[in-house]
């Protein structure tokens, strides 16, 4: 459904992505992993259409992202950043309703349909009880859920004509959260994928999170795709070592996989 075809991108004279090709089918739950500065965030920006590749193409349902209007894109693809700070004191419901921007005419105001969609999104992310609260008073995990609700409200179509067409892109959504909230976000993504059929792309540094939540993984290193495929194939000790230049063991623990660093001192000395 969402594809990168030989996409290249740089900020000014600094190249970041070199001919990245990627195919994200409808209903996929894809994890993006790789070292700092590898180009994960940039790739997410290209996928969401807020940046355009300097060479190559980004395709949505087979046609280039660049031929679609901002509003049309925003109705299909929503982005959740690592952390959200609001400049002013909005209520949670107001923040979620901001997701409806692309669905409204220039001077239109949100109607009953938008309100219903916003409340459904709050319900889906488990923060319906907080709708009247000031966003700034929420905990980190609650904020993240409210922002995900805003993203869901953004890609919910009022006519429900294209179920499963919604794409959710999350950039390190758990980086600022403690263990409990990390698990909360993990199960939330799992739910959204299973129940709504949302297509989800999530970048993360947390390999355990990636292994637990995602179906497929894409490894990005130095602006190129190092490996991609089902989690079991990609998340091997050899690949992780190649990705981060760190010696690791990958061990099974119950149903999940753990990546355990080996001989850390040696690695640091070598680096």
């Amino acid at each position: 459904m969402l594809q990168a075809v030989d996409a290249t991108f740089g900020y000014g004279d600094t190249p970041v992505l070199h001919g990245v090709s990627l195919d994200i089918p409808a209903g996929a739950l894809v994890g993006l992993i790789g070292p700092n500065g590898a180009g994960k965030t940039t790739l997410l920006r290209l996928l969401s259409g807020t940046r355009r590749p300097s060479a190559g193409q980004m395709l949505l349902d087979g046609s280039p992202l660049s031929v679609r209007s901002r509003a049309a894109l925003a109705q299909r693809i929503a982005v959740v950043p690592q952390e959200s700070q609001l400049a002013f004191d909005y209520t949670v419901l107001e923040v979620v309703l901001m997701g409806r921007y692309a669905h409204l005419g220039t001077f239109a105001v949100e109607g009953p349909t938008d309100l219903a969609i916003a409340r459904a999104a709050l319900e889906a992310t488990g923060v319906a009880a907080l709708e009247e609260r000031m966003f700034s008073t929420l905990s980190g995990g609650e904020k993240q859920r409210a922002i995900i609700a805003s993203a869901l409200a953004q890609i919910s179509s009022s006519s429900r004509s294209s179920p499963g067409g919604e794409i959710l892109i999350l950039d390190e959504p758990t980086a600022a959260l403690d263990l409990r909230y990390q698990l909360g976000v993990a199960s939330l993504l799992h739910d959204l994928h299973a129940r709504r059929g949302s297509t989800i792309v999530v970048s993360t540094h947390d390999l355990a999170f990636a292994a637990r939540v995602c179906r497929t993984l894409v490894m990005i290193k130095d602006g190129r795709v190092l490996a991609s495929g089902p989690v079991d194939d990609v998340l091997s000790a050899g690949r992780v070592r190649e990705l981060y230049d760190v010696d690791v063991d990958v061990v099974r623990h119950g149903s999940s996989r753990l990546v355990v660093p080996r001989g850390q001192g040696d690695t640091e000395r070598r680096a």
Binding site: V79, S84, A87, V109
Partner: protein, 334 residues
């Protein structure tokens, strides 16, 4: 939560009613008591009717100037705070007032020799000065970034304020005592326009800016999430920032050309309004425009009466209220 339509309507009716009442009452209050009945008695020739003269020539233009300047500076303050994502920003943060002051100063010091035609040069020159200042700030902020960098905007604004202040001191050094006195009075902010001409000439610009503000209300809501988040929600961030910057700067320049750099309106009013109506710019903008008008007109009544028959420049009153208020805001923000 009540629907946004109801919230906007309630705010407009409440704050509009307050503003209307203030504007109607203000011309009746002053050091010289006047009779409304005699002021509106058309059977007496205007030249023989001191009540009508005080009402229509001294007080009404001044009240209307207060309403125009107050509503413009208050709503421009809202737009600048939204654009810069900084609740402590004011309409003067980006150098508009310093540029305007330099322009006015040059006009006051040198223009009598250049333009003996009787056209008041200070308002025009101050508007030109504010355009120059914001033009430079805009180019600086655009040069370094794809869109408009708000950090660069802030730094460029602060630098321009300092640089223009230096130029002001330079010009002042060559001014004589009378000019220095007039310059100082101009800097205090004064609504004593004593004619309708400056109001009529700035009105088109103010109306155009307000039209832009109406469009900006929703984009400013999204911008408070941050530029990236706003962009991914479908907003043309760079376009919205440009419209916000240009319209708020022009409106501020127009207001300053009428009343001088009346301080603190652009920060006190938006904050009080947000405490009352919440953060949604669709409510905050109209409410601030109306409350700003009432607030400045009321401050002007105080400035005209508190030391009567002396008429203080209104900028002194707003600064006396605004300084402590700003500090309170600063301390209250954790």
């Amino acid at each position: 939560m009540r629907s946004i339509r109801t919230r906007i309507l309630t705010a407009v009716l409440t704050f509009g009613g307050g503003a209307l009442l203030t504007i109607l009452l203000a011309p009746l209050i002053g050091s010289t008591p006047i009779s409304v009945r005699r002021a509106f008695d058309w059977s007496v020739p205007f030249g023989d009717n001191p009540d009508a003269q005080i009402f229509f020539i001294a007080r009404l233009p001044r009240t209307l100037a207060g309403a125009l300047v107050g509503s413009t500076l208050a709503s421009a303050g809202v737009v600048f705070q939204g654009l810069l994502r900084n609740p402590l920003a004011t309409p003067f943060t980006l150098g508009v007032s310093a540029g305007a002051a330099l322009g006015a100063m040059i006009a006051i010091t040198f223009a009598p020799a250049l333009a003996p035609s009787g056209i008041p040069a200070a308002p025009l020159a101050s508007f030109a000065g504010s355009l120059l200042a914001v033009g430079i700030v805009y180019l600086l902020a655009r040069a370094r970034h794809r869109g408009l960098s708000t950090n660069t905007l802030l730094l460029a604004g602060v630098t321009m304020n300092a640089f223009f202040s230096a130029l002001i001191l330079f010009v002042q050094y060559f001014a004589d005592f009378t000019d220095t006195f007039r310059i100082l009075r101009w800097l205090m902010g004064d609504l004593d326009v004593s004619s309708y001409a400056p109001l009529v000439s700035t009105l088109p610009l103010v109306i155009a800016s307000f039209a832009a503000f109406v469009w900006l209300a929703r984009p400013l809501n999204l911008l408070s999430l941050g530029p990236d988040a706003a962009e991914s929600r479908g907003l043309d961030v760079t376009g919205a920032q440009r419209v916000a910057f240009v319209s708020a700067s022009l409106a501020t320049g127009a207001a300053v050309s009428v009343g001088g750099p009346v301080g603190f309106i652009g920060i006190i009013v938006p904050h009080l309004v947000r405490l009352m109506v919440g953060a949604d710019h669709r409510v905050v903008l109209p409410a601030s425009a109306l409350f700003g008008a009432a607030f400045l007109v009321a401050c002007d009544v105080v400035s005209r009466t508190v030391m009567a028959p002396l008429e203080l420049p209104v900028g002194i009153i707003t600064a006396l209220i605004g300084g402590p208020f700003f500090l309170w805001l600063l301390v209250r923000r954790r």
